[in-house]
């Protein structure tokens, strides 16, 4: 019988024996080496670590890793593949204790996923995200999940950063959850954000420069706008490049600032130009401060755009020296310029002329066409003057309708007058267009010369002003200053006051001069003439005070008084049963131009038709011709009330036959200059004869003024002049005297 074959399968016994053998060998080795050996090598040189050293190594590694983990500020937990916490570090433990989050045993063994899933309240959203993230790492092989979330306790604002990473990227054996308190970082971020927002909210450009590195560390939005660069571009620039100066210069400035040098540039406010890329200039105010930042210094540069303020300042200074309407210099600047020209004239030994110019009829235009037309005229005049001279700096606008001019060098004697004549003629011919109509404007000019009339601008100006006043009061278009004028003007000032008082004290009186008829010296009518009965000097002739009344505007009140007085006298005569005659009252140019004049007459005559019939207005020819259209309208209104109108001083103005035929007037008064010339030359007689013929042709009454001789009276009768007035018949008489001598009881 053959013995059964037994297979040599390695059984449990064998395995146990092998392990026991290995242990025995290990123990033998330990014994042999007295525990002083860590490893032995096999035949192939592979080291084989003895058990004791292996255990020691493992313990050492574990405690080292535990120490590292516990040293970290982050809260760290290791989760198994199901999300159960298997290990935590000290920080996690402390946090869990402090926040009573995880029950006993530091949360070890609790299901972290379930904790997240069950979270509720303010942070349930974040907890859900965390759970999703952990599942993605544990089950879907996500390499890293992280989330930042706020978790505010009742006492502080807290933020946390959570990251979840797999324990082993290859196998789903668990995950490491790290939970870091980032509140500090968040707070500084928030502070930085607020700081940056505050800096960006200011309109000042702010540059923070680190002195050591000489680099910008921060710039705000306004800085970027100022430089027209993006923040990145600006931060890439170096400060000295931006300012376009050498680096050393800027470093030196900064160091002086740091040293507290009061004279350092920037310690004080600097105002400087900044040119933009588009070429426009900006004014900026620059302020620098040095601030210690740790061991180093930060230079804070504040740049404020002050262009608007500068423009306003320039505007103010412009207004102080220029006339806004015409763009010409104003009085201040003009006087400055004249003084400069005077220096040159004095050193060059030549003469200088200063002109003051008045626009005639300006007030009329302003009143009738409106202020905008007036302004347009002033601009056109300013432009005409400066373009005529080719130099605007020689002119100024110094009053409503007053201009000034300087001729810095008078070349030859008499040249000023020639220049004036030529310029004024050209000006008069120039058509000024206002509201689609053409206007021709006349000038009056006063002239003062250096050195004769003054050595400084103020004196010359004052004297030219005097000459202008005189020219305006007289028929002259321009006048050179004479010393006597000053005395006149000074006299006028006192005269003006006296005239005001005279009006109050009723010192004005009307005298009447008869106009006799052609047929036998009968009284036809009378002219009322105003006289001032000055209690100190007696009667003052009208030539002395009428111009002053006109200049000062007193003429309106005195004129109104004269009308009232004439009407009052006329009524009194009639009531007394006297043979009252029509009274002619002189109307000043200013009165006729005045808008309220017609209403004033209405008021004076009231509804008394007879009073109106007894009143005639004498208006000078030149006045009517200054503004024919307006005159016609006024005269028509006057005649509609029943008054008659006479043209005074006829022949001295420039009326043409064509105008005369259109004028609504009743009578012509031949100027006394023609009457006095009548006997001296055949031409004189022919002239008077023509005027009378003209009046008769137009069916106007004709009156000769200033008749002084019998011969004149005889010839006028021959020419069939309707009425005569003059010393031959009577001088103007005081009212009572006139009454007694000429008015008879009917």
């Amino acid at each position: 019988m053959k013995p059964a074959r037994v297979d040599r399968q390695p059984g449990d016994e064998d395995m146990a024996a092998l392990i026991a053998g290995l242990h025995a060998i290990g123990q033998k080795l330990e014994d042999l080496t007295a525990g002083e050996i860590d490893a032995v090598a096999d035949q192939l040189g592979r080291p084989f670590v003895l058990r004791r050293s292996q255990e020691h190594g493992r313990q050492q590694e574990a405690s080292r890793q535990a120490a590292i983990l516990n040293a970290l500020p982050a809260h760290i937990a290791v989760l198994d593949s199901q999300g159960v916490i298997v290990s935590v570090n000290d920080a996690w433990r402390r946090f869990a204790d402090a926040n009573a989050l995880h029950g006993p045993r530091d949360g070890l063994g609790s299901d972290y996923l379930r904790v997240c899933d069950r979270a509720w309240g303010a942070h349930s959203d974040e907890a859900a995200q965390v759970a999703t993230g952990i599942r993605a790492v544990l089950q879907e092989g996500l390499a890293r999940f992280s989330i930042e979330y706020p978790c505010h306790s009742p006492t502080e604002q807290r933020w946390f950063l959570m990251t979840v990473t797999p324990l082993d990227e290859a196998r789903a054996i668990g995950a490491v959850v790290m939970h870091l308190n980032i509140s500090e970082r968040k707070r500084s971020e928030e502070e930085l954000r607020r700081f940056a927002a505050a800096m960006d909210a200011t309109s000042d450009a702010i540059f923070l420069t680190d002195r050591a590195s000489m680099r910008f560390v921060h710039v705000n939005d306004a800085a970027c706008r100022l430089r027209e660069l993006t923040r990145e571009q600006l931060l890439a620039l170096r400060p000295w490049q931006m300012l376009d100066i050498p680096r050393e210069v800027l470093e030196h400035s900064y160091d002086r600032l740091i040293a507290g040098d009061a004279d350092a540039p920037g310690a004080e406010v600097l105002e400087t130009h900044h040119r933009r890329d588009d070429g426009s200039h900006r004014w900026v105010e620059l302020r620098r401060e040095a601030h210690r930042s740790g061991a180093d210094w930060t230079i804070v540069t504040l740049v404020r755009d002050i262009s608007a303020r500068k423009q306003a300042e320039q505007r103010v200074s412009y207004l102080a020296y220029y006339d806004v309407l015409t763009g010409l210099a104003n009085r201040n600047l003009f006087l400055d310029r004249v003084n400069q020209h005077l220096c040159a004239a004095a050193s060059g030994g030549h003469r200088l002329a200063l002109f003051l110019v008045d626009l005639e009829r300006f007030k009329n235009i302003n009143d009738s066409l409106g202020q905008s037309a007036g302004d347009a005229l002033l601009r056109q005049v300013g432009h005409w003057l400066s373009s005529k001279a080719g130099d605007a700096s020689l002119f100024a606008r110094i009053g409503a309708d007053h201009f000034a001019a300087v001729l810095p060098e008078v070349t030859a004697h008499g040249s000023v007058a020639r220049l004036l004549e030529k310029t004024m003629a050209a000006f008069l011919e120039h058509p000024f267009r206002l509201n689609d109509a053409v206007f021709r404007i006349a000038l009056k000019v006063g002239v003062a010369l250096f050195p004769e009339d003054g050595s400084d601008a103020e004196t010359l100006f004052k004297n030219a002003e005097t000459a202008l006043k005189k020219a305006k009061a007289s028929g002259d278009r321009y006048l050179f200053y004479r010393q006597a004028m000053t005395a006149t003007v000074a006299g006028q000032l006192t005269l003006e006051n006296q005239l005001r008082l005279a009006l109050e004290r009723e010192e004005f009186v009307l005298h009447y001069q008869p106009k006799v008829t052609l047929d036998g010296d009968r009284l036809g009518s009378a002219e009322a003439l105003i006289r001032w009965n000055d209690p100190r000097t007696g009667l003052v002739p009208p030539s002395r005070f009428i111009p002053v009344l006109e200049e000062t505007g007193l003429i309106f009140e005195v004129g109104r008084w004269a009308l009232q007085q004439a009407v009052a006298d006329y009524r009194r005569w009639r009531l007394a049963g006297l043979s009252a005659v029509r009274i002619a009252v002189n109307v000043s140019p200013l009165q006729l131009r005045h808008r309220g004049f017609i209403a004033e007459i209405e008021q004076v005559i009231g509804h008394d038709a007879q009073a109106a019939e007894g009143l005639e207005l004498e208006i000078t020819e030149s006045l009517i011709m200054e503004d024919v259209r307006h005159s016609i309208a006024s005269l028509q209104a006057i005649r509609a009330m029943g008054l008659t109108v006479a043209i005074d001083d006829f022949g001295t103005g420039f009326s043409s036959l064509s105008y005369l035929s259109r004028l609504p007037v009743d009578a012509l008064k031949i100027d006394q200059s023609f009457v006095s010339e009548m006997n001296s030359s055949p031409q004189g007689l022919a002239l008077v004869s023509t005027i009378i013929g003209l009046a008769q042709a137009l069916q106007l009454k004709v009156v000769a003024e200033g008749v002084e001789t019998q011969e004149q009276a005889r010839q006028l009768r021959q020419l069939r002049c309707d009425e005569m007035q003059g010393y031959l018949f009577s001088r103007p008489l005081a009212c009572e005297l006139f009454e007694a001598r000429y008015l008879r009881h009917c």
Partner: protein, 97 residues
């Protein structure tokens, strides 16, 4: 260097930072600092990193110290904890007293 103060060159074979190896390195360093200041040089060879060198040098156990110079070459196995024995083994008996 005089003949009475020769320069010592050592080579220490260690098994990473295992306990005995670390002790051996520490003991050797202390001995050198005390007895051979300024005249020694220690080369440490980790057998885990350079197993072939250990094999070619005939090192089967770690830690093992080999005195390369001065001649004769000596080999000592263990933690080098017994200073007297070690001094003798290294041929430094005169310092032993």
């Amino acid at each position: 260097m005089s003949a009475s103060h020769p320069f010592y060159k050592f080579r220490l074979y260690v098994a990473g930072d295992a306990l005995n190896s670390a002790q051996a390195l520490s003991n050797l360093a202390t001995l050198c600092r005390t007895h051979l200041p300024q005249r020694h040089e220690i080369e440490v060879i980790d057998v885990f990193r350079r197993p072939q060198q250990a094999l070619s040098d005939g090192i089967v156990m770690t830690p093992t110290l080999v005195k390369l110079a001065p001649m004769p070459q000596r080999t000592i196995v263990g933690t080098l904890s017994h200073t007297q024995t070690l001094l003798q083994a290294l041929g430094l008996p005169e310092i032993a007293a």
